[in-house]
Amino acid sequence: MAKVKVATVWLSGCSGCHMSFLDQDEKIIELAEKIELVYSPIVDIKDFPENVDITFVEGAVANEEQLHQLKTIRERTKLLIAFGDCAVTGNVVALRNMFQDSVKEVLERAYVENVDHSKQYPTQVPKLLENAHPLHEVVKVDFYLPGCPPSAELINYVLNEILDGRKPSLEGRFKFG
């Protein structure tokens, strides 16, 4: 039987969800029997491949590149999972949305106020969006896996349920934050 193609993506987030994914420890070895990791921050592949079965997307959508990237991912993925609070709610990344002119205030704070030398806005990086968004505000999301981060057990449960062709039930199992 062909292995299920799984990808994991890291947008604006702290990578904590990926750490939690890795925290599945020995269970990852069991998973490896069933899945093939076709794209991930821990896999050295540059472009997001076609025909991916399941994609875990960590982090909020905060800049133009991520927006573009997420749309490509959506087109090439059968089942897209919003992975962790940033992807589900915007979480800490979206706290900047509370500021009036959030992009300017964030840049000012990070690259001018808190910097001792060569105070300047970055120029060679993707432009920040006016607001940071949870995934479902930009593309269709098939499954939500909240948590900051979601626990390794929960990730394992969800992934195994999906692999077995069931819809995981989160009632009582997850926790925001």
Binding site: N91, A94, L95, S169, L170, E171, K175, G177
Partner: protein, 234 residues
């Protein structure tokens, strides 16, 4: 003490209640769970969060179980797909209304809204979230009032008024612009009426009023009003 003389049916189960009981009380006494948020034992029922709504046979309207008294032969449904859908929507609306970011909240892990989201499987908000920014009142030496996390359940107002007997807190403005005020909308430190008793922080279901430098798990005392009321009765 009055007797349990009222017979009613809750979710198909025949139960007995005192004539003065509410549906919520009768359900709770019989081990039937109804979600609540603004309700707190010992305080006047408010009927604002609408989570405890139930269906009462013969009544086309949904009734808040925290305010509706029991009556003989009443048939109550506390758990139906429709009710649970509404409850999920209400939790979503609360999460979306202000900037509830659990990961950076003092109440993380002891928050009633967070618990309800878990329980009802509210894994995201289908309505867009608001990011309106409210000022945080940190002027008081011990307490903080963070409107960004307030769900306007008014437990703090009621505990201050009914248990502490001071009525420092109230609501200003209306609708989506409602917010809790201290005295006549003054900074907390400037309040003459506040006794700094901290009951407001003890009953806050979320992380809107809390004690500085302490996680809510250490300062929360949900049972406080009930305890005081019970003592007063003696």
């Amino acid at each position: 003490m009055s007797e349990r003389t009222v017979k009613l049916v809750i979710d198909g189960r025949e139960v007995f209640a005192k004539p003065t009981d509410t549906i919520l009380k009768a359900a709770k006494d019989n081990g039937i769970y109804i979600p609540t948020l603004c309700y707190l034992e010992g305080l006047t029922a408010y009927g604002g969060c609408r989570l405890c709504v139930v269906e009462v046979k013969g009544n086309p309207k949904l009734m808040t179980s925290c305010t509706t008294p029991v009556s003989n032969n009443m048939e109550v449904i506390t758990n139906s797909p429709r009710l649970n859908k509404y409850r999920k929507q209400i939790i979503e609306l609360l999460l979306a209304e202000r900037t509830h970011t659990c990961s950076v909240c003092v109440a993380n892990g002891s928050c009633e809204l967070q618990e309800l989201a878990t329980r009802f499987g509210v894994d995201h908000t289908s309505v867009s979230r608001n990011w309106k920014r409210f000022e945080i009142d940190m002027t008081h030496e011990r307490f903080v009032l963070d409107h960004n996390r307030c769900i306007l359940c008014t437990r703090c107002i009621r505990v201050c008024d009914e248990i502490e007997g001071v009525h420092v807190l109230d609501v200003k403005r209306r609708g989506k612009d409602s917010s809790i005020v201290i005295d006549l909308d003054e900074p907390w430190a400037a309040s003459y009426s506040c006794t700094s008793c901290g009951k407001c922080s003890a009953v806050c279901p979320v992380g809107a009023i809390y004690v500085k430098l302490k996680p809510l798990s250490e300062t929360k005392k949900k049972e406080l009003p009930e305890f005081v009321v019970e003592r007063r009765r003696r």
